[in-house]
């Protein structure tokens, strides 16, 4: 991409013949250690202080929405894993719920519980990766390895459940592909029991470390109005103080039967809506996930996990807009069907696409080191932005 629409602003030489300075144009990415995937920011900086960071996306655009029109309803399920491979389960759930809503299919209770268990485990995984890589971007390498070590344990659990560690393809239209294997419940409960104190240890290690809070407090403050105006969702929205979660405000699946709180940014270290708030909301959300998991694993009802769905699935014509609470917030699936075996149109509106659109506004006169912190706190993931 050329630098179209982006010219370097040369400051005029000072009146008294002083030194004429010039902005520095830096290209950060697409190969850069901390842009979380293939993202590029054209940074116009005056020394260390940035005038503006303009995001340039599209490097990981596979046009998954076009593929949806080519492979059938069942065949598209593995592709939904690739929309956001860090949190694949909510994407599966979004696609499955869209097809079920179009064809008015009712998923058995145990199937819904399996879905919630898998999604909540996957949310912990995604938050662990986001929190760990944020600490690494600020300079602390140890929290990253501790976060990934815990993530590996969950990988093993999910591998036993559905056979894959990253691109799960676990859910099907009408339920889930595999039931919970024997003795898996006790193992999962034991893991949740073991994992909870490690969150506090993580907090002691890095979250309240003075250097860490100093780097994150009052950096890139997003007010509630801006967050809603830029359609920020999930932890980015809750970090700005808006108490909204699709699982509770637009309830779906079995979430109404589960009780859990919605952590919200309170501006402990600075103003509400700064990088620290978005970070600490993710940490507290992991605790809520543990609470949900404990309830689900204990109340798992007996019965089948999938209903009868035709192999050559043809939903009646119509469209639907399904919203799922992914790890990166409310993910919108707008699916249009024309009655044939191939989806007519599938638009996926993701949290990261909204989050990266606010980077340009937020990054004005921050320092370059802060841009890295902002990218990490918004939890941008390249595949979700470009689809």
């Amino acid at each position: 991409m050329g630098l179209a629409g982006f010219e370097v602003e040369v400051q005029r030489p000072q009146a008294d013949g002083g030194l004429s300075t010039e902005d520095m144009t830096l290209s950060m990415g697409p190969q850069h250690p901390s842009t979380h995937g293939v993202l590029r920011f054209v940074v116009r900086a005056d020394g260390e202080v940035m005038k503006e960071a303009i995001p340039d996306i599209g490097y990981l655009h596979r046009s998954i929405e076009k593929i949806a029109e080519k492979v059938g309803w069942h065949g598209f399920m593995p592709y939904t894993d690739r929309v956001d491979y860090v949190a694949a389960m909510p994407c599966n759930q979004g696609w499955a719920m869209a097809a079920e809503r179009l064809a008015a299919i009712e998923v058995p209770k145990r199937g819904e519980y399996c879905r919630v268990i898998a999604t909540e485990f996957n949310r912990i995984q995604s938050h662990l990766l986001s929190v760990g890589s944020m600490a690494m971007d600020i300079g602390a390498y140890t929290p990253f390895t501790h976060a990934l070590r815990e993530r590996e344990y969950i990988n093993d659990l999910i591998e036993e459940l559905c056979g894959a560690r990253l691109t799960f393809n676990y859910m099907r239209i009408g339920g889930v592909a595999w039931d919970v294997p024997p003795a898996w419940r006790e193992k999962a409960l034991a893991y949740v029991q073991r994992f909870e104190p490690l969150i506090d240890e993580f907090n002691d290690l890095i979250s309240y470390n003075r250097i860490y809070t100093e780097r994150l407090a009052n950096v890139a403050v997003v007010t509630a109005e801006d967050a809603i105006d830029y359609n920020l969702v999930g932890p980015n929205l809750r970090g700005s103080g808006v108490r909204y979660d699709v699982r509770r405000d637009e309830p779906y699946s079995v979430y109404p039967e589960l009780d859990f709180e919605i952590p919200v940014g309170r501006g402990e270290m600075g103003r509400v809506g700064d990088c620290f708030d978005r970070y600490i909301v993710r940490i507290r959300e992991m605790k809520e996930c543990c609470k949900i998991l404990r309830q689900c694993l204990q109340q798992l009802p007996p019965g089948p996990v999938i209903t009868k769905v035709a192999r050559n699935f043809k939903p009646p014509p119509g469209d639907c807009y399904v919203r799922v609470e992914s790890a990166r917030g409310d993910m919108g699936w707008y699916v249009v069907s024309d009655g044939t075996a191939f989806p007519y149109r599938c638009k996926i509106r993701t949290g990261s696409f909204a989050a990266i659109s606010i980077v340009q506004k937020v990054s004005r006169n921050l320092m370059i080191a802060d841009l890295i912190a902002v990218i990490a706190s918004l939890d941008l993931v390249a595949p979700e932005i470009d689809r």
Binding site: F76, P78, R110, G163, A177, D179, E201, R210, T307, K308
Partner: protein, 184 residues
């Protein structure tokens, strides 16, 4: 900023840094978690054996129990399975001349092993699929034309296919089915 906040900043910094160091020091006495794959494993343990039954590794096809129903070929979203089977009265039933899977394109999603009635195509825990040339990534399962398996009406299966069929059905039972009520 007042003198109070000045001192509080120093105390705050010192305490939180010391606490962070206490956590890392406590890690010095904890065992590492690394699994030293591939060469430093305890004697005789292969990583593949430790993987769960449902692990979706490289595909494998038992031709003896494959009924050539092409369900897997239709189910694969990437069309990386190609089967040629012709009706041949003389041999009595379908004769398969070709059953190829292009492992370079396969994304191990498991959609092919679901509709298989006898569990002929299933995932193995094998995952070391690296190879030197792209062509050798195509697994050709049919060496010589073979008659597709046809389950007999009477229900009894001849002895040497029975174990393979029993193993295949174990893969089929693993998948959730709408009618069979799953255990608690």
């Amino acid at each position: 900023m007042g003198f109070g906040t000045y001192l509080r900043n120093i105390k705050d910094a010192a305490l939180t840094i010391a606490d962070g160091m206490a956590v890392t020091f406590s890690h010095l006495v904890r065992r590492p978690y690394t699994v030293q794959y591939p060469d430093r494993l305890p004697d005789g343990v292969r990583v593949q054996d430790t993987l769960p039954f449902r692990y979706r590794g490289i595909l494998e096809v038992d031709l003896e129990i494959c009924t050539a129903c092409l369900a897997c070929e239709r189910a694969c979203p990437i069309d990386c399975i190609v089967i040629d089977a012709e009706k041949d009265k003389a041999a009595g039933g379908l004769v398969m001349t070709r059953f190829d899977i292009d492992l370079a394109k396969c994304m191990y999603c498991g959609l092919c092993s679901e509709p298989c009635p006898t569990g002929a195509i299933h995932h193995t825990p094998e995952f070391e699929g690296a190879d030197y040339s792209l062509e050798s990534m195509v697994r050709r399962f049919v060496k010589a034309p073979v008659v597709a398996y046809k389950p007999k009406k009477g229900g009894e299966t001849d002895p040497e296919i029975a174990p393979i069929l029993e193993r295949g059905m174990r893969y089929v039972e693993e998948f959730a089915s709408p009618d069979a009520p799953a255990g608690k």
